[in-house]
């Protein structure tokens, strides 16, 4: 049986599944329930500075988009950081950590970009016995208007500066949580590590409007006839988050640095994918908000089963394994040729592959009068669209042409690896050594 025990920044938790800093981790009651359900760690919902806490709206905080059967695909929120008193939060954190010494407990913090503010809060957090802190440089709504959250995360110099303060006034690991609302995620990641961050976590939520109420002509969630952009999360953001995770993992400046991945992780498989792309552990929010804390039990059993099947004994065995295979387009093998193959036994004759190919691609699928669909190898560019629109998993596959085989489309023989950098059509091609 695989051991899911994961050590991240020296913090050991029984599994790599942490709850992200978010509404589910706002108070002792929830966090205790989460630990009882099996979560390996929790990032406590972001604490603000001492004094009057922030306030939240009193109308709807969440908006959503749905798939079939109202399956929640994406959620957005306009909730701010904790609206509870700082000291009450600190007391609760202290109690919970004492009762759950084997679980990771990280405290998320967001205070103004002033050294005094950080200097004031960090010792208070240190006194709780929590395992580390996470700097919330990510929230794109509300707090950003006050110069915090993503307003900091979008300025690499601020990230470095604040991270340095934290390393100065706090002795345990510092994780910097990044905003995806930026053009190149590598810049803030580099800035964080430049400030001696121990890890980065990403992604925070994406600026979004999930829906517009066409009667009221207002974005939703609608507060008294008006709406504002909120932070988008859930399964829909996973592809964006994975790319950002991979970009940091393969950036020579940050390669190998610890990453805690966040973004639409809903099943064990999502977690395994992020970890293969370099994440040491994962943080979850929307899945828990959709299904409750129990959902972690499937993640635990699923990851464990998969690791057993693959022969991985501990999570670090596969962390980052996919990173070397994330490359630039220019290095892809242009001599790798595949053709779509339709399994006629599996085909249910819906014709979606035909419509997609005929209308929007390369007219490479033939449809007979009796609805048999076959691929025209002399037209197929192997774009994979037919595979993606086919409702039957495994019905259409891309089959590789072996070296030396004839590609009927180009009339050329399949040759060994060659990429764009040496392609004759590339004006900047490097001439292969004679």
């Amino acid at each position: 049986m695989a051991d899911l025990t994961t050590t991240f920044l020296g913090i050991t938790s029984p599994n790599p599944f942490w709850l992200a800093s978010a509404p589910p981790t706002d108070k002792e009651y929830n966090v205790r329930r989460a630990f009882e359900a099996g979560w390996g760690g929790v990032v406590w919902k972001t604490l603000g500075m001492e004094g009057q806490p922030v306030v939240n709206v009193n109308g709807p905080r969440y908006g959503a988009i749905f798939g079939a059967d109202r399956r929640l695909l994406g959620l957005n929120n306009i909730e701010l950081i904790t609206d509870r008193d700082l000291h009450r939060n600190l007391e609760e954190i202290t109690r919970v950590k004492k009762d759950y010494p084997d679980r990771a407990l990280i405290v998320s913090i967001m205070v103004p970009c002033e050294e005094e503010a950080w200097k004031a809060i960090l010792p208070l957090v240190e006194a709780t016995g929590a395992d580390g802190i996470e700097l919330n440089f990510g929230c794109p709504h509300g707090m950003a208007e006050r110069g915090m959250g993503s307003a900091v995360g979008q300025v690499p110099e601020y990230i470095t500066m604040v991270t340095e303060w934290c390393k100065m006034y706090y002795s345990k690991p510092v994780i910097v949580k990044l905003t995806p609302n930026i053009t190149d995620i590598r810049q803030p990641a580099r800035a964080a590590f430049k400030g001696n961050a121990d890890a980065v976590s990403l992604i925070n939520t994406i600026n979004s409007i999930t829906s517009v109420n066409l009667d009221a002509m207002s974005p939703e969630p609608m507060i008294d006839g008006k709406g504002t952009h909120g932070g988008y999360c859930g399964p829909a953001v996973k592809p964006i988050a994975m790319n950002m995770c991979a970009e940091i993992a393969r950036d020579p400046e940050t390669n190998g640095k610890p990453i805690s991945a966040i973004g639409g992780i809903t099943t064990w498989r999502d977690a395994a994918e992020f970890m293969a792309l370099g994440a040491g552990n994962v943080q979850v929010c929307t899945a828990a908000m959709t299904y409750g804390f129990k959902v972690v039990q499937e993640m635990i059993s699923g990851l464990s089963q998969w690791m057993d099947e693959k022969g991985y004994e501990k999570t670090s065995d596969f962390v980052g394994m996919a990173v070397p295979n994330v490359t630039d387009w220019q290095y892809l093998n242009l001599n790798y040729v595949t053709k779509a193959r339709i399994d006629q036994d599996a085909c249910i004759s819906c014709g979606r592959c035909y419509a997609a190919c005929e209308d929007t691609s390369h007219q490479a699928i033939d449809m007979s009068i009796d609805r048999v669909f076959t691929v025209k190898d002399d037209e197929c560019v192997a774009c994979n669209l037919c595979v993606n629109v086919c409702p039957v998993e495994g019905c259409i596959e891309m089959v590789e042409l072996e070296m030396g085989a004839l590609d009927e489309r180009t009339g050329e023989i399949v040759k060994p690896y060659a990429n764009w950098t040496s392609h004759p059509n590339n004006p900047g091609a490097i001439k292969a050594a004679e």
Binding site: A68, D69, I348, G351, A355, P391
Partner: protein, 444 residues
């Protein structure tokens, strides 16, 4: 009320009223909006969809389902009704299991088709609940067309003609329009007076006058109709029934299934409707199943459908056979009636076992007797009252193209016309297509 399922003879009120209410509820209850959304989500939006090809009226099924999925069931209804103005009734009575749903790729994939019939009902019910008519008439053409028979074919023809701007007079022998929709369908398939409501809604197009109690040979003649109108459409159905030519067929308790079904549909109070304690239905089509199931639902103790060929040859679909079985109807196959016994009233039906020898049905000589105080004949309907001069083949009016008969200026469609299955949806398609052809002929 003292009658029970065990009371001998043909008796009303075998079941308490509340049981009858439950028994005759909607066979396929309407989908709720959420159910409709979930069901619609299952549609793959197939290319050149098999369901659409299988539909006799060629409704664009993937499109209307997508319209439901995106929250516009009214637009979905329009898509349906443009092709099939009786889309509401067809959603209820179509044997979808042998048409659209049979060829649904989800049926191929999972043995569970998209619920096309129920989705169609959801769309049409939503639109009809708005109590407005979705189509407007074109400018009046001044042409007058007679439509004889206000069943599905006649209604579809009349509506399309009216929409094209023609004036239509629709004649029907019965006291009410609707044809088999009103008189010939099991009650649990058309609840809450739907057939009549649909006719009223359809007439909302305007330009259609309905004259009931008038039929060919009984006050109407084709010659007169031709003289008074620019075109005539015959949608007169199959008003006759095949006779049961066995000894004792004249005994009390031996009745036509279609009469029983019609009576049941028009009954104000089902508790007043008499039914036998032990019922035998002769036949194997939809009418046989409708009569058999409804007999059980009224409280008959035992009901047997006796069909002369094998189950695979039955006119009733597998779904209908399963429905009958689930209601406790026994289906006997490969038996044919040879006599009805009884002193004045039927008390037994004698059946002979049959076998198929080189495609010919022959009796084996072995017989069996079933106790029966009521015997329903459901052995087919026949063309009756077709005017002189029309070419008739195999008991049906010969038509070509868009329903043209051998007589100029006279069109025909529905069950009375040759070609196509005898289904509501087929009748609608034929009525509609004839209207298009009439329009073309009249407008040059």
């Amino acid at each position: 009320m003292s009658n029970t399922t065990m009371t001998p003879g043909i008796q009303p009120g075998r079941l308490p009223g509340e049981n009858l209410d439950v028994n005759f509820q909607d066979l396929h209850p309407p989908l709720t909006p959420h159910e409709a959304h979930v069901a619609a989500d299952r549609c793959y939006f197939c290319h050149d969809a098999p369901c659409m090809t299988a539909c006799p009226t060629s409704i664009d099924i993937p499109l209307f389902i997508r319209q439901i999925m995106t929250g516009t069931p009214e637009a979905a209804a329009r898509t349906i009704l443009e092709q099939n103005i009786l889309g509401g009734m067809c959603a209820r009575v179509c044997p979808t299991e042998t048409l659209c749903e049979e060829v649904c790729v989800r049926e191929t994939a999972e043995g569970q088709p998209v619920e096309i019939g129920r989705l169609q009902r959801y769309a049409t019910d939503t639109l009809m609940a708005r109590n407005s008519h979705p189509f407007a008439r074109a400018a009046e053409t001044g042409k007058r067309v007679a439509v004889v028979g206000a069943g599905p074919a006649g209604l579809a023809c009349a509506h399309r003609l009216a929409m094209k701007g023609h004036d239509v007079v629709m004649y029907d022998a019965r006291a009410k329009a609707g044809g088999l929709n009103e008189f010939g369908i099991a009650a649990y398939k058309s609840t809450e007076d739907f057939a009549a409501r649909e006719v009223a809604w359809l007439l909302g197009i305007g330009g259609i006058t309905v004259e009931t109690g008038r039929s060919l040979g009984a006050g109407l003649s084709l010659e007169q109709l031709k003289q008074d109108h620019d075109a005539v459409f015959l949608g007169i159905g199959l008003a006759g029934v095949n006779a049961l030519s066995v000894a004792g067929a004249e005994k009390d308790g031996v009745v036509d299934a279609v009469s029983f079904i019609a009576e049941l549909r028009q009954a104000e109070d089902l508790a007043t409707l008499p039914v036998g304690r032990r019922v035998v239905v002769i036949g194997g089509g939809m009418t046989a199943i409708d009569a058999a199931v409804q007999s059980r639902l009224l409280g008959a103790e035992s009901v047997t459908v006796a069909y002369r060929r094998g189950a695979d040859r039955m006119g009733a679909s597998q779904f209908e056979q399963d429905l009958a079985a689930s209601k406790g109807v026994r289906i006997m196959t490969n038996v044919m009636p040879v006599a009805v016994h009884g002193n004045g009233a039927a008390s037994e039906v004698e059946l002979e076992y049959t076998q198929d020898v080189d495609g010919r049905l022959t009796g084996t000589g072995e017989t069996v007797r079933l106790v029966a105080d009521q015997v329903f004949k459901a052995i087919g309907q026949t063309l009756q009252g077709a005017p002189e001069g029309l070419e008739i083949t195999r008991g049906k009016i010969v038509v070509t193209g868009g329903g043209r008969t051998s007589v100029k200026g006279v069109w025909a469609g529905g069950d009375c016309a040759l070609g196509g299955e005898d289904l509501t949806v087929t009748a609608v398609a034929e009525g509609r297509d004839a209207a298009e052809d009439i329009h073309k002929a009249l407008m040059g």
